[in-house]
């Protein structure tokens, strides 16, 4: 076999093996890589940051277990940001199978903050600082209904409390009192938020999605329908970076730890493409 033939026909098992190596090794020995935030993530961060005291933000955790690795770090980063800056936050899921993941993310971040809290004021208190609305099917009902009244749609929260008796909800009645909704999803849910909640009630919508679906969402970001956009693991890492750089929030940064894996995987793919093309080039010259 000639050299160029070898370069052009590397066995796929070799490619898989090398990729497995470069993806898993950095995950076994994790270290945080600094990233430079790009404007779609910066815009989202700023929008969350600008939430005033009389408003709250909504975090829609509608991501399935399959894409948890990519999207959960976004949920955690946004929650850390919101809690650190004492923004009021409402969390919900549009599908029942995603409730468990939303609970996981909230519990983790609340635990992080409360384990360091010295006073009652410092602590995160359910109902005062955050509310978990749970799930209300079908998705279109909360999307439209919360424009009129949140507590009419979620009469009780996930834990069975009367929503309108919660301290935080006294001032948070409908989208008018919401600064931005951050939709975390791998499906077309964020577009539905624009179609129903934004078109009708002017709600600002920010998005966190998988890298694969990112290309689908750019048209909406470009027109300003999405205030900001976090795409894939890299987007999550950028948000983590902004939260730590601006507010010094400490905590495990899963997405930033995965950046090394991501970098090596990209470089490996680029290398394979280059090798393939060298082979192709030699082959063409031979002809």
């Amino acid at each position: 076999m000639k050299l160029y033939e070898r370069l052009m026909t590397i066995d796929r098992r070799i490619i898989y093996g090398i990729l497995l190596g470069v993806v898993t090794l950095p995950l076994i020995f994790p270290s945080v890589v600094k990233v430079t935030p790009m404007s779609p993530v910066e815009k989202l961060f700023t929008a969350v940051d600008n939430t005033t005291n009389d408003k709250a933000l909504i975090l829609d955790c509608s991501y399935s277990p399959q894409i948890k690795a990519e999207v959960e770090p976004m949920a955690i980063a946004v929650l850390r940001h919101a809690f650190k800056t004492r923004k009021k936050i409402l969390v919900l899921s549009l599908y029942v199978e995603m409730i468990g993941l939303a609970t996981r993310a909230i519990n983790q971040v609340v635990e992080e903050f409360n384990s360091n809290a010295q006073t009652y004021e410092d602590s995160l208190i359910y109902g005062r600082d955050y509310v978990f609305l749970g799930w209300q099917p079908p998705p279109i009902v909360p999307m439209l209904g919360m424009g009129e009244s949140i507590s009419n749609i979620y009469v009780v929260d996930y834990y069975g409390n009367q929503t309108d008796t919660l301290q935080m909800m006294e001032r948070i009645r409908n989208y008018n009192d919401i600064s931005i909704l951050v939709a975390l999803s791998g499906s077309r849910i964020p577009i539905s938020w624009v179609a129903y909640a934004q078109n009708r009630y002017g709600l600002a919508v920010g998005v966190g999605c998988t890298a694969v679906s990112g290309a689908d969402f750019y048209p909406y970001y470009q027109t300003g329908q999405f205030t900001g956009l976090m795409v894939g693991m890299k987007g999550a890492a950028e948000y983590e970076e902004l939260v730590e750089a601006n507010y010094g929030v400490k905590g495990r940064r899963v997405a930033s730890e995965a950046m090394l894996s991501l970098t090596y995987a990209h470089l490996a793919i680029i290398l394979f493409i280059v090798i393939g093309n060298i082979g192709f080039f030699l082959h063409r010259r031979r002809k």
Binding site: R12, Y16, L19, V33, I67, M259, F272, I273, G276
Partner: protein, 219 residues
């Protein structure tokens, strides 16, 4: 006759669909709801029975004829029967007539889903990383001018989104955003316009009975 009835049905159903878009009055919307929700649901229930019948028939047949890898068909049949029994009699939240836990060992349908289906599906999803690498290696060759352009754009985006992108050039990440925001969006919009019009034309052709390949073709 075999063609006339379905074509008439589809014409009527299509027309009713268009009318429901024009008439918001409840006296008409009630029928529309009924067609879209109730009737369609009943039809799909029948289809589910047919589909499951097909699944079982294929695998029983495979076992009977001892076709290649027929042993795995047993696995499917056992999993099928097991989850059907647990799901039908165990209830969604372990509230059925069938007990779905032995001591601390739970096997209700939600637990089965979370601990079997989700990990398996995630593993399949994770295969994408490997497949992307091998597909990119094979496909990205500088065969022509267009292929070279595609390759260059892909390179810029791949390097630009990396954490090291910024250290190569501070303009690189911005340029990547531009590629995603302008040429990418422009191309997508073009395709979307075509798709939207294609949907209109195809629907019209089906309603008018011009497109009948789905009936087995012919004039």
């Amino acid at each position: 006759m075999k063609k006339t009835i379905p074509l008439t049905l589809i014409f009527i159903a299509g027309l009713l669909g268009v009318i429901s878009f024009v008439i918001p009055h409840p006296s008409y919307q009630v029928y529309d709801e009924w067609i879209r929700n109730d009737l369609l649901r009943v039809l799909s229930a029948f289809a589910v029975v047919l589909a499951l019948g097909s699944l079982l028939r294929v695998h029983f047949d495979k076992i009977k004829r001892k076709r290649k890898n027929w042993q795995f068909s047993w696995l499917l049949l056992i999993a099928f029967g097991g989850s059907a029994v647990v799901g039908l009699f165990g209830g969604v939240a372990a509230d059925g007539v069938l007990p779905t836990a032995v001591g601390s060992f739970q096997f209700d349908i939600q637990t089965l889903y979370e601990n079997i289906v989700i990990p398996l599906a995630s593993s399949m999803f994770a295969l994408l990383a490997f497949f992307m690498a091998s597909a990119a290696y094979r496909a990205f060759r500088v065969r022509s001018m267009e292929a070279t352009l595609l390759l260059v754009a892909a390179f810029i985006v791949m390097v630009g989104v990396l954490p090291m992108g910024y250290s190569i050039s501070k303009h690189l990440p911005g340029f990547v955003q531009w590629i995603l925001n302008v040429p990418n969006v422009a191309g997508q919009r073009g395709i979307v316009f075509g798709i939207a019009l294609g949907v209109v034309a195809t629907s019209l052709k089906i309603i008018l009975g011009i497109e009948r390949a789905w009936l087995g073709g012919g004039e």
